[in-house]
Amino acid sequence: MTTAPRASPFSALFDLSWARVFAVFLKELVQMRRDRPTFAIMIMMPVMQLVLFGYAINTDPRHLPAVVEMREDGPMTRAFLASLTQSTYVDIVAVTHRAEDGEAMIRAGQATFLISIPEGFERRLVRGERPQILIAADASDPVAAGGALAAVQQVAAQAFAPEFQGSLAFLAPAPPPYEIVVHRRYNPAGVTSFNIVPALLGVILTMTMVMITSIALTRETERGTMENLLATPVRPAEVMIGKTTPYVFVGAIQVAIVLIVATLLFQIPFTGSFLAFLIAVTLFILANLMLGYLISTVARTQMQAMQMTFFIFLPSILLSGFMFPFRAMPAWAQVIGEALPITHFLRIVREIVLKGAGLPDVIGDLWPLTVILLVLATLALLRFRRTLD
């Protein structure tokens, strides 16, 4: 009888056979290629997401429900109202003389914004006192509200243009003789369009990478192939590396798609260090793959895996600074946010893409990303069931 040394918990990490890793990798690659619908979704998802979000950012929103509050009834304000009606930007759902009515309609969601023309507007306009037009937007949907505000400002500018002719022509040139005051309701921070596309990269990668690997092991278990796999001398780390590596390439393709679309369609500037970006995006993809893989070591069915993925996905959207400004969140939410890979990735990408940061500037978020990756990989290895128990 031979006696072998007892396997230490870390032998799994060092006792690797790259031939076996390659076997798993190759098999996974072939399966991925054969699973056309899933592969198509992985490639199409970034394009669809970008176009959907990008459309809301980039095009002129039209037919937005508006309520106009008129405190004054004169030729100019009537002309303004007519222009608003004629323009396809807004659909005037109501004209009111009472402030409360307008507010109520916004609150009820019947109108996206309220255009308020104050008393004495015409008189002060002619006197050159730059009277105010108040626009109150429902910014709970920041993307829509952002578009709406831009549209109404444009309409307002055009609406008064024909009136400023003849004796009033001196009022026409910029700056406009009136002032548009904007109140964003419910989301004072707003979101700029340049912020969204880089952030979308983080969301898309989180969604696909976690989802795909979350069923990496559960699929084998459900199909019964796990029994055969476990009956071979393959080690947990070999399965983990072999199974996740193909998706690094999928992630890279998604990144390329987003970058190309972002530059071509939305003219997003990319001013920072590309090397820093590559390092960050690689770490981020790996961290997400490990997160998904960890889920697949816990979930017993593909259904459970999907639910757990969603459980990760929600905080990734809500607590990462994608939705709400990170520093404005309560402390407990910030703690959760710091533990999510996407939080650090979003910061890095904003720094690099929008502010032109280099590698040293983003170290502060690169190392937490690395720590998260290592912790997730270790947990996944420890969780891997070597038996069918």
């Binding site: 009888m1 031979t2 006696t3 072998a4 007892r6 396997a7 056979s17 031939a19 076996r20 390659f22 076997a23 798993v24 190759l26 098999k27 072939v30 399966q31 054969r34 699973d35 199909r223 019964g224 192939t225 796990m226 029994e227 055969n228 476990l230 009956a231 071979t232 001398p233 393959v234 080690r235 070597r386 038996t387 069918l388 128990d389």
Partner: protein, 308 residues
């Protein structure tokens, strides 16, 4: 290395508070074909999984191929070919890709050569590019056997390898197993087919997690001591009803146009059969030797009585 390839003692497995395998011992000598029989749910698959390290037993220990069954499962896995009860190769990989995947995992040299040889053995050279999921049941079984043989294991664990396979394919299958056995490969094979059971050198019979019989196949009839009578002719249904109610008749099994009545007490059995003949004079009766079929039906019905 010892000549006992499987040597396990007291293997016990519980799922929840149900004991599925209860203090199971097994000694299988090198080169033997060991049959593993028992009704569905009796714990055969669970036992085989414990032997190859896929399940951790709650208690018990032992060696497989000289390696500790609890601590050296990786060493055991390298030397064992396990064919699962359910087809567990990748249906979305081709026949060749499956075999190549397995040979890579075992770190085999001359991989292409081995896969080619295996495909030729199977007669699947022309269909090697076909997806495994598209194969019929019999071909899947053959592919699975080829896959678990490709690394030339010393021990084969086959879990109902011929379930649902046509008789010709089953015969080919057993020819292959006997060939491997002649080369010194040890086989533990579970089956429900009596014609396969009689081809085994020894048989272990398990019911509800407990091993009830473990003997060389040839010794089993004598060991059980089951006597039988053949009852034929008309009215057969009536004769069957009478036999089923008779004390001394422990098993009434229908075989085509005849009934086999079996029992452990030869005198009581004969009395019962003659009483039926007296009641229904048209039936014919004759003593027979109880075969494996009768023995195992008898054992299984006994197991039901004990545990249900």
């Amino acid at each position: 290395m010892s000549d006992t390839v499987i040597d396990v003692r007291g293997l016990t497995k519980r799922f929840g508070d149900r004991t599925v395998v209860d203090h199971f011992d097994l000694q299988v000598p090198r080169g033997a074909i060991y049959g593993f029989l028992g009704p569905n749910g009796s714990g055969k698959t669970t036992t085989i999984r414990m032997v190859c390290g896929l399940l951790k037993p709650e208690s018990g220990d032992g060696e497989v191929l000289g390696f500790d069954v609890l601590r050296e499962s990786l060493k055991i896995k390298e030397r064992v070919g396990y064919m699962t009860q359910r087809f567990s190769l990748y249906e979305d990989l081709s026949i060749r890709e499956n075999l190549e995947f397995i040979s890579r995992l075992y770190g085999l040299d001359r991989r292409a050569e081995r896969v080619d040889a295996s495909l030729a053995d199977l007669g699947l050279i022309e269909r090697q590019g076909q997806l495994a999921g598209k194969l019929s049941g019999g071909w899947k079984q053959r592919l699975a056997l080829a896959a678990c043989m490709i690394h030339e294991p010393e021990l084969l664990l086959l879990d109902e390898p011929t379930a649902g396979v046509d008789p010709k394919a089953r015969r080919d299958f057993w020819d292959a197993i006997r060939r491997y056995s002649a080369q010194g490969v040890t086989t533990l094979v579970s089956t429900h087919y009596m014609d396969e059971a009689v081809q085994c050198d020894s048989i272990a019979y398990i019911a509800y997690g407990k091993k009830l019989i473990d003997s060389p196949t040839a010794d089993i009839p004598k060991q059980i001591g089951l006597y039988g009578w053949r009852v034929a002719g008309r009215p057969l249904m009536r004769a069957q009803e009478l036999l089923e109610q008779s004390p001394g008749v422990e098993l009434v099994a229908r075989f085509g146009a005849e009934i086999h009545a079996c029992g452990k007490g030869p005198a009581a059995l004969e009395r019962a059969v003659r009483a039926v003949k007296a009641a229904e004079p048209h039936v014919e009766i004759a003593p027979i030797e109880a075969g494996f079929e009768e023995i195992f039906i008898y054992l299984m019905s006994g197991a039901m009585d004990n545990f249900q």
